[in-house]
């Protein structure tokens, strides 16, 4: 699942259209959208780093986000000399207010240009050398890294203004087309992050077997955690065999079941 945060409606519209996102009824603080399968969501934060940080937390709450999900801040940014419409991914984020820096880790293949970005508190037409300028990245990044691992958190910016064309000349339709023209790059980035997130493994096990075993005896919370780990090992060592259920039914408590499973696993040498 990918959570997208944009600051403006105009930035959101082409994305909502492209991915067929529907507005959520129950989201009243920030406008939030999702596709049918909830694999892509979009929240409109409004302008500024605090708004963006808050939108991340809001999104996490309404979609019960897990560690395996990726987060994207998509929006416009200024740059001294880059052509308007250039898509750029941030490789360093500097918050000009707090002077803090973050370093997004681009560990997937990408042909996108990557550059540092400064998050400022008020819009300006003084463009520093070598940096993009925006008003959200630092708040977004700080907040999203509280929710997931930083390799899955990125800021994709489309250059909207530069030394020759200042931000005052922007309007809704220009912003929409800047995003629209980069929808392929956005899709590609979402796909890369999705592939990457699959590398994060959660301890899963055969749910049927787990339910069967936990219905035989009372398992405490810590027993249940142990059981999940043991069943995972069982799956790896004995992919086609289930534990001896006749024996298991004879055990008096959960600990005896765990001991039996562990004993069976331990006496089976791993074959590489």
């Amino acid at each position: 699942m990918t959570h997208i945060i944009t600051a403006l409606h105009a930035e959101a519209k082409p994305i909502i259209r492209h991915f067929n996102l529907r507005k959520l009824e129950n989201s009243n603080i920030f406008e939030a959208y999702a596709n049918n399968t909830q694999t892509i969501t979009l929240t409109i934060s409004g302008i500024g780093k605090l708004a963006s940080a808050a939108a991340v937390i809001h999104t996490m709450n309404i979609f019960q986000s897990s560690k395996m999900r990726s987060w994207l801040n998509i929006g416009i940014a200024g740059h001294k000399s880059l052509d308007l419409g250039t898509p750029v991914i941030a490789n360093k984020i500097i918050d000009t207010g707090s002077k803090q820096s973050w370093f997004p880790q681009i560990v997937f293949k990408s042909r996108l240009l990557n550059l540092p970005i400064m998050t400022i508190d008020t819009a300006t037409d003084q463009y520093p050398d070598g940096f993009m300028l925006d008003m959200e990245s630092s708040g977004f990044y700080y907040s999203a890294c509280k929710v997931t691992t930083c390799e899955l958190v990125h800021c994709l910016k489309i250059i909207s203004d530069n030394e020759h064309t200042h931000y005052q000349q922007l309007n809704e339709s220009i912003i929409q087309s800047l995003i629209e023209n980069n929808i392929e790059e956005i899709t590609r980035l979402i796909d890369s992050l999705k592939t990457l997130s699959l590398e994060i493994k959660e301890i899963t096990c055969d749910e049927n077997l787990y339910n069967k075993l936990t219905s035989i005896q009372h398992f405490t919370h810590s027993h249940k955690i142990q059981l999940k780990k043991i069943l995972k090992k069982w799956e790896i060592l004995f992919p086609t065999t289930v534990p001896d259920m006749n024996r298991i039914h004879k055990f008096k408590n959960a600990q005896e079941i765990l001991d039996y499973l562990m004993f069976t696993l331990d006496k089976t040498p791993v074959s590489y």
Binding site: W102, C145, T148, E151, L196, I203, I236, P269, V270
Partner: protein
């Protein structure tokens, strides 16, 4: 290979920095105040970063050379280790680095001169003692040599320090910089080895065993001291047959009379490193092995450890003289 280079402002104009940036001219260059800003951050995933690690160029200010844990000893009076680099281009499943560090980015400390000064100072101030230095604790000593040139810098400088011995721990076949110079007597190239089948399953991205042995032999033939590091030994079905063939193969391919030292130890990790490892790779076979927590570490259950260590120790003893064999853990109770 490297798509991003982080550079501490302090080393931005260091000659090594410039040289390395030249080598990776397509990489993005990103400045930082201190390497820890990138490297030690919370919310990083070692496994994901391993897909494409960046390179951080930094200056090491303190603790350049540290006392080594006692199980590192190969007979020196004083033992030290140093790391000109953190992290490794290989991805061995049992590697403790993935438990120790949050980031898989490589850190290279470019102030080589200070590592050398520190080593020399220690040797000078303990002139009556043998001082052993271990490289390859936080990285593979040779794998990145074509990029770093660290050993090329250090080896000629330490060759005439009489009370020094330097161990380069490696799985690498990057030996050109060694073959290009006269062998240095007070240096041991210590190859980490496992039975081929296990290395294929666990030593991801590292050279296979026959290539490691071929490199070791080349170096040996040129006059370099070669050490053998059977650590960590990994438990496997058919362990006796697997390890018997393995030790015989190693002995066949090298001149065993000339082996400098052999060390031996079974898989063990601090418990919190092991927990991280199992969260990164819950589906890996290594995690399913019969381990137990004892104190703050995780190792094989006693009976398994006994079987593994006693067999391997006996085998090793049949090829090498006792005085060349150094256990990496207390073996008495297992052999």
């Amino acid at each position: 290979m490297i798509n991003r280079i982080y550079i501490e402002k302090e080393v931005a104009s260091h000659h090594k920095t410039l040289q390395i940036c030249n080598k990776f001219s397509n990489a993005s260059v990103i400045d930082c105040d201190h390497y820890s800003e990138v490297f030690n951050r919370k919310a990083q995933n070692f496994r994901l970063q391993k897909k494409s690690p960046g390179l951080i160029l930094a200056h090491k200010h303190k603790n350049l050379v540290m006392p080594a844990p006692s199980e590192y000893s190969i007979g020196g009076d004083l033992n030290y280790y140093f790391s000109h680099m953190l992290n490794c281009i290989y991805d061995c499943r049992y590697c403790f680095l993935q438990g120790m560090y949050r980031s898989a980015n490589y850190v290279l400390f470019v102030n080589y001169e200070e590592f050398y000064q520190q080593i020399k100072l220690i040797c000078n101030s303990h002139a009556d003692k043998s001082c052993h230095f271990f490289s390859g604790y936080d990285c593979d000593s040779l794998a990145m040599e074509p990029v770093t040139g660290f050993m090329q810098y250090l080896l000629p400088k330490i060759s005439d320090i009489p009370n020094l011995l330097l161990e380069l721990r490696t799985k690498s076949t990057q030996i050109r910089s060694l073959l290009d110079i006269e062998p240095i007597n007070n240096c041991v190239i210590a190859y980490s080895l496992l039975p081929d089948r296990l290395a294929k399953a666990l030593d991801h991205k590292a050279p296979d065993i026959s290539s490691r042995l071929a490199s070791a032999r080349k170096l040996q033939d040129q006059g370099w001291n070669i050490g053998l590091r059977f650590d960590p030994l990994i438990y496997d079905t058919d362990l006796e047959k697997t390890y018997q063939t393995f030790f015989a193969d190693v002995a066949n391919k090298l001149d065993i009379e000339k082996i400098h030292s052999v060390s031996i130890g079974s898989f063990r990790l601090p418990a919190h490193y092991f927990n991280k490892l199992s969260s990164y790779y819950p589906e890996d076979k290594l995690i399913t092995s019969p381990f137990e927590h004892s104190g703050k570490s995780v190792s094989y259950k006693n009976d398994v450890k006994k079987r593994l260590l006693s067999y391997c120790y006996q085998e090793v003893c049949s090829y090498y003289p006792l005085e060349k064999i150094f256990p990496c853990e207390a073996l008495e109770q297992y052999i």
